[in-house]
């Protein structure tokens, strides 16, 4: 029996919809009833705001993830303990207080998470492919290692470890090892290279495949993070500028340079979710231009233009040809310019934005996002003729839709020079 569309959301429905971004719970209560409940919430003046509040709190819970860096405290256990905890080596009575410590500690919590990820018994398809391609996965490699291990057993120290100390491993096979250019530190950890002679030329191809696999899953959620930010821009467009990937939405003039009246509770849930992803992405890849750009986009949304500019300048250094970085940086200059009190400073920021957009359009004259934004910059600089030319060109390239309507409206308001 399907749900009555007139009924308000039940507590279960409200919880289910508030938590639908929680991937592990997504299956709970999915189906046509959920769609109907969602449709009801969208049209209901009682349930809509209530659901929005619940989603905001849920996103806030989600955004409480550990920050990028935390300092080790005196009572933090040794780092290697967390691997043992994740593996269940210490007895529960010893592990319990350590888990409680990790749950309260921004330094140890991420270490425990990393350890559980390392020891996770489930393999993704990419990981399986990576391992399958390793020379050590072949029967020949394994047989050769077994023979070498057991054949050299008389040299082994009974009960002792080969690794006498970190980086000071003494290997029996060193006696017979061939010399090769080492990727390892010169003064320690002398790995043998017999895998190379045992598994000949195919290794090069394996390296290429493996590298591809590694690259593929090194930043798994950057694109979804950017989609979330674009969704936030669509839902609550904070300024006139167009944002790459975002749909049309009316400008909500509630932003400000992080003023005290501004609450994070007001942010779209997608943005808060994205910020959690960004913190994790930057923790793993602090120099990655993509994550720096994503962070700057979130800053842009929140009106933190100076921070966004600094992040985007770093990203631009790494990816000087990336037009999306230039468009974002132009938006940040434009945004900062709007808050400048001095006319000259304001004009300077607008001109910086203009230069960046000119560069993008020089590369691709049909970039509608850059063209739309440049027209806005010309308007702010009171360059009406240039603004009109850009709007007209824009409407040739994008004649229909809500962005086109917005362009027509801007064009209509400009003083005609002819």
């Amino acid at each position: 029996m399907s749900r009555d569309p007139q009924n308000h959301l039940s507590p279960d429905e409200l919880a289910g919809l508030a938590e639908e971004m929680e991937s592990t719970w997504r299956s709970a209560g999915a189906g046509p009833d959920r769609d109907q409940a969602k449709a009801h919430a969208e049209g209901c003046g009682v349930c809509g705001p209530l659901l929005r509040d619940h989603r905001s709190v849920q996103a806030r819970l989600r955004s409480m993830g550990s920050p990028v860096v935390s300092e080790r405290k005196p009572d933090c256990p040794a780092e290697e303990k967390w691997t043992a905890i994740a593996g269940g080596v210490p007895p529960a009575i010893e592990a319990k207080p350590m888990l409680e410590h990790a749950s309260r500690c921004d330094y140890c919590g991420p270490l425990l998470r990393a350890a559980t990820e390392d020891l996770n018994p489930e393999l993704s398809a990419e990981e399986e492919a990576f391992i399958r391609q390793l020379p050590s996965a072949s029967a020949e490699w394994q047989r050769a290692l077994a023979r070498r291990m057991t054949g050299a057993s008389e040299a082994a120290q009974p009960g002792g470890s080969l690794a006498t100390a970190p980086g000071e491993t003494v290997l029996r096979r060193d006696v017979e090892r061939e010399t090769r250019p080492s990727i390892l530190p010169a003064a320690g950890w002398p790995f043998a290279n017999w895998t190379r002679w045992a598994i000949p030329l195919g290794a090069a191809a394996v390296v290429a495949v493996g590298a591809g696999v590694v690259m593929k899953y090194s930043s798994p959620s950057l694109s979804s993070t950017n989609k979330m930010i674009a969704q936030a821009f669509t839902e609550r467009r904070p300024f006139e500028f167009r944002f790459p990937g975002a749909g049309y939405g009316p400008v909500r003039q509630e932003r400000g340079e992080s003023g005290p009246s501004r609450s994070r509770m007001d942010e779209p849930p997608e943005l808060l979710q994205a910020e959690t992803q960004i913190a994790r992405g930057l923790a793993k890849h602090p120099h990655d231009a993509g994550w720096l750009q994503a962070k700057a986009r979130a800053d842009l949304f929140e009106g933190n233009y100076q921070t966004a500019i600094e992040g985007l300048q770093k990203a631009k250094t790494t990816r000087p040809q990336d037009t999306s970085v230039k468009i974002d940086l132009a938006a940040a200059y434009f945004g900062r310019g709007e808050f400048r009190r001095e006319t000259l400073e304001r004009a300077a920021d607008y001109n910086l934005a203009l230069q960046l957009l000119n560069g993008v359009l020089k590369e691709n004259a049909n970039d509608t996002v850059a063209l739309f934004n440049r027209a806005l910059v010309h308007q702010q600089l009171e360059e009406s003729a240039e603004a009109i030319a850009d709007w007209q060109l824009y409407l040739q390239l994008d004649p229909a839709g809500q962005w086109a309507d917005a362009a027509r409206e801007q064009l209509r308001q400009l003083p005609r020079t002819d």
Partner: protein, 202 residues
């Protein structure tokens, strides 16, 4: 050959066939841990992963009396977990040794060190965000305290924060041997507490 028989054969002597079988059975388990741990350190080349896999098996062989004695037929999973821990420690030790050598040589090109420096600098520039986050954590902790009760309240509190603060999935929490709950059990705790906390914060 059962796992128990295999471990016994490996522990007793230098039987190449037994060790070959041991390597075959545990290759994926060890390779997965090496690959992920090396990836966390920023170098997951197949060549290095293979070297570290080899190194792990050599260590197990050299220390076989101690390591293989950890196996009990009643709990083979515990032995697998022990092998994983040995592997992760070996990989961590390798990278730590490599980084300390680089530091000792005065070279600064190491990306991890550089990353840490940048991240540290970023951390010092975010006092406002930290203050905001700490306020949030306290607010949620107050709501959470009102939601938990019973003999397992410390366990439930830890589950909640491991999930939201540390980012462990329900599956990862349930996989921790010191949390005696299934994935569904952990999800149920998180779900119940989340709903209660959310209702108090709305």
């Amino acid at each position: 050959m059962s796992l128990e028989e295999l471990i016994k054969a490996c522990a007793e002597g230098d039987n190449p066939a037994a060790w070959e079988e041991f390597i075959r059975r545990f290759h994926v388990l060890i390779a997965a841990v090496v690959m992920r741990t090396a990836r966390r350190w920023g170098n997951c080349s197949p060549e290095l992963v293979d070297d570290l896999i080899q190194e792990t098996f050599l260590k197990i062989y050299a220390d076989r009396k101690r390591i293989l004695s950890k196996f009990t037929p009643e709990d083979p999973e515990a032995f697998c977990a022990f092998l994983k821990v040995i592997t992760a420690h070996l990989v961590d030790d390798y990278f730590r040794a490599r980084h300390s050598q680089k530091r000792g040589s005065g070279r600064l090109e190491d990306s991890i060190d550089e990353s840490a420096a940048v991240a540290q600098a970023a951390a010092t520039n975010r006092p406002a965000e930290d203050v905001f986050r700490n306020l949030q954590l306290k607010e949620v902790e107050r709501a959470l305290s009102a939601c938990i009760a019973g003999v397992e309240q410390e366990r439930d509190r830890a589950i909640f924060w491991l999930y939201y603060r540390d980012g462990l999935s329900a599956k990862a929490i349930a996989a921790l041997p010191s949390i005696p709950l299934t994935v569904k059990g952990v999800e149920s705790v998180i779900h119940r507490l989340t709903r209660c906390v959310r209702e108090r914060l709305v």
